[in-house]
């Protein structure tokens, strides 16, 4: 697994503390995840912030990690990404959006309709993860929906996904593409 918490113009000490915390947490992840970590993004205190991220408050304890991320391999069209989100901080974290460079991404929930069939729709208010709690993104449940792939995602490939939190901070992780037959819940775009 990998992730990074990027900030712009944050005092060096805070950035270093956050990086240290992230490195420590990285040890909790599975060492065998094929989603390889990019050390340059998570262990670079003091380096200039990556472009495209917003400044966040100084709440370094509010840390979101992504464990065992994966994405369903697909030739085109829509697909979905999954993983276990963990909030190891002491305040709630809200994921408000997600992005990749190969598809627009929506945050989706899945629910059973009156006929028992599962359908999914955009998650109002994003994914809220309570302090010291987790949220499993999994087939049949909440997930990241890649709405329109600009190219195929092939099995074994690694896709970088960025989550944006309510406070503007971002969490980046690498999801490995798995061949997966399920996760075919019908999509109900008019969720209202």
């Amino acid at each position: 697994m990998s992730y990074s918490l990027r900030r712009r113009r944050v005092p060096m000490a805070v950035t270093a503390a956050a990086a240290a915390l992230l490195l420590g947490l990285a040890g909790c992840g599975s060492p065998d995840s094929p989603a390889t970590a990019d050390p340059s993004t998570s262990a670079a205190p003091g380096t200039s912030a990556a472009p495209g991220t917003e400044q966040a408050g100084g709440d370094a304890a509010s840390v979101l990690t992504v464990h065992d991320p994966w994405v369903k391999a697909a030739e085109g069209g829509m697909t979905a990404a999954f993983g276990a989100l963990t909030n190891s901080g002491d305040v709630p974290v809200t994921v408000v959006s997600a992005s990749t460079d190969i598809s627009p991404v929506e945050l989706h929930g899945t629910s059973a309709g009156h006929d028992g069939a599962m359908s999914m729709s955009q998650k109002e208010g994003g994914f809220v993860i309570e302090p010291n709690n987790g949220l499993a993104l999994e087939p049949g449940g909440d997930h990241l929906m890649l709405m329109e792939l600009s190219r195929p995602i092939r099995a074994g490939e690694e896709i970088v996904i960025t989550l944006t939190l309510a406070d503007g901070r971002t969490v980046e992780f690498t999801a490995v593409a798995k061949p997966f037959a399920g996760a075919q819940e019908s999509y109900a775009p008019s969720h209202g």
Partner: protein
């Protein structure tokens, strides 16, 4: 009996209430089994065999020096057309990750039957590369020379259904359920890259049934594997592991997998003495006919009063015997026992798995002698043959085959 079992309505099932309860029950019993606890039936603790782990990571792959598990599935694949080095790397990353998790007793990533992964039972997944793998990778120059189809032997009756293969996954565990789940996970992840060419499933004595280091009988009733070098000895390392400095060779070995049909009907026509003469060993102890215990040195010169050698010149033991450690092979064989025909004719035999550093130096001379003259040939027929390089192992976080592909 059904009175105290609450009815589960279809509606409740669909709305999830029953589903949650069922899931909790299943998870609970899995945990109970994994910890050796009582799952509620009062039958007492189970042995620890289910939770035993064989390490996946290391300089060498597991599943070779590993004490043979009770069940094996050898799954050979044919790479899809157009597979190249980059494709192979994606496949091996996925499969290595699956193997690393499953052998630890953890579900694979995106495992659809996660509960089945919790009891690894010494699961090993061993990766082998056939000649076609090297060609697809554009790495023919890195293929060990003797990892190639074997020369034809007069005794062979090879069937395509059991022969060849670009990639081999050897899946072994002390539990057939564990093997089945691992095979399902691995086949699903291999599917975008390769088609299943053949699967050979075999068995040995169950865990706890005999001393695991003891030589076991095959379905002819013979002790099979007496001459094996013992794991952990210099003789074993000399016979099995390659030591060239090239990273795609160091810590590797080779596998010759032969499917040997055994004619149990014909074997039935022999008396006990004849059976022992064919092999040159006692059926009960495995001792050579000139000795009293299994590992006694055979005396090929010993003769009866009538002048005949005690161990026949064409006995299996006489023909297969080699002296030097670097000429020995490691046999890690499994038995197969398919459904008999309507008239009861058996479809049984050996999945003969032979590991050696160099097929040309070790396996071929033995096989040549046996093919030329071995009394046992009368009752055995090789019907499948495949050759693979068993890649070096990998470290935690790494993947099998990287040394070859990168």
């Amino acid at each position: 009996m059904s009175a105290d079992r609450p009815a589960v309505s279809r509606r409740r099932l669909l709305t999830g209430g029953a589903l949650v309860a069922g899931g909790a029950l299943a998870a609970g019993s899995a945990v109970a089994a994994a910890t050796g606890g009582r799952p509620g039936t009062g039958t007492g603790p189970v042995a620890h065999y289910g939770t035993d782990v064989e390490p996946f990571h290391g300089e060498r792959q597991a599943g070779v020096a590993t004490i043979a598990q009770a069940y094996a599935s050898f799954v050979a694949f044919t790479l899809r057309p157009g597979t190249d080095r980059e494709t192979l790397a994606r496949m091996l990353r996925l499969l290595s990750d699956d193997a690393a998790r499953l052998t630890r007793g953890e579900p694979a990533l995106a495992d659809t039957e996660a509960e089945l992964a919790l009891l690894p039972a010494r699961l090993t997944v061993t990766f082998g590369f056939g000649p076609g793998f090297y060609t697809a990778a554009g790495r023919d120059d890195r293929r060990p020379e003797s990892v190639a189809p074997l020369p034809a032997f007069a005794i062979d009756r090879l069937e395509p259904a059991w022969s060849g293969g670009d990639l081999l996954l050897q899946i072994c565990a002390d539990d057939a359920m564990t093997v089945a789940h691992a095979q399902r996970v691995l086949v699903k992840d291999a599917r975008p890259f390769a088609t299943v060419r053949w699967v050979q499933q075999g068995f040995r004595r169950g865990r706890g049934i005999t001393d695991p280091t003891q030589t076991q009988h095959n379905l002819f009733g013979q002790l099979d594997g007496t001459a094996n070098p013992a794991a952990g000895t210099p003789a074993f390392d000399t016979a099995v592991w390659r030591t060239e400095p090239e990273p795609w060779l160091y810590g590797s070995t080779t596998l010759v997998l032969r499917r040997i049909r055994m004619d149990l009907e014909g074997w039935d026509l022999l008396g006990r003495t004849e059976r022992e003469l064919v092999v040159g060993r006692r059926l009960d102890t495995g001792a050579p006919l000139t000795g009293t215990s299994e590992h006694d040195e055979p005396d090929f010169a010993a003769r009866h009063a009538n002048g005949l050698t005690v161990i026949p010149d064409f006995a299996h033991l006489t023909r297969a015997r080699v002296g030097e450690d670097n000429q020995k092979i490691l046999r890690r064989t499994y038995n197969y026992d398919a459904a008999p025909a309507a008239d009861g004719t058996a479809d049984s035999g050996l999945i003969f798995a032979s590991y050696q550093a160099d097929i040309a130096r070790q396996f071929l001379p033995i096989q040549q002698r046996l093919a030329e003259a071995d009394l046992l040939n009368e009752w055995t027929v090789p019907i499948g043959s495949a050759v693979f390089a068993i890649a070096p192992g990998c470290r935690t976080g790494d993947w099998i085959g990287r040394q070859l592909l990168e």
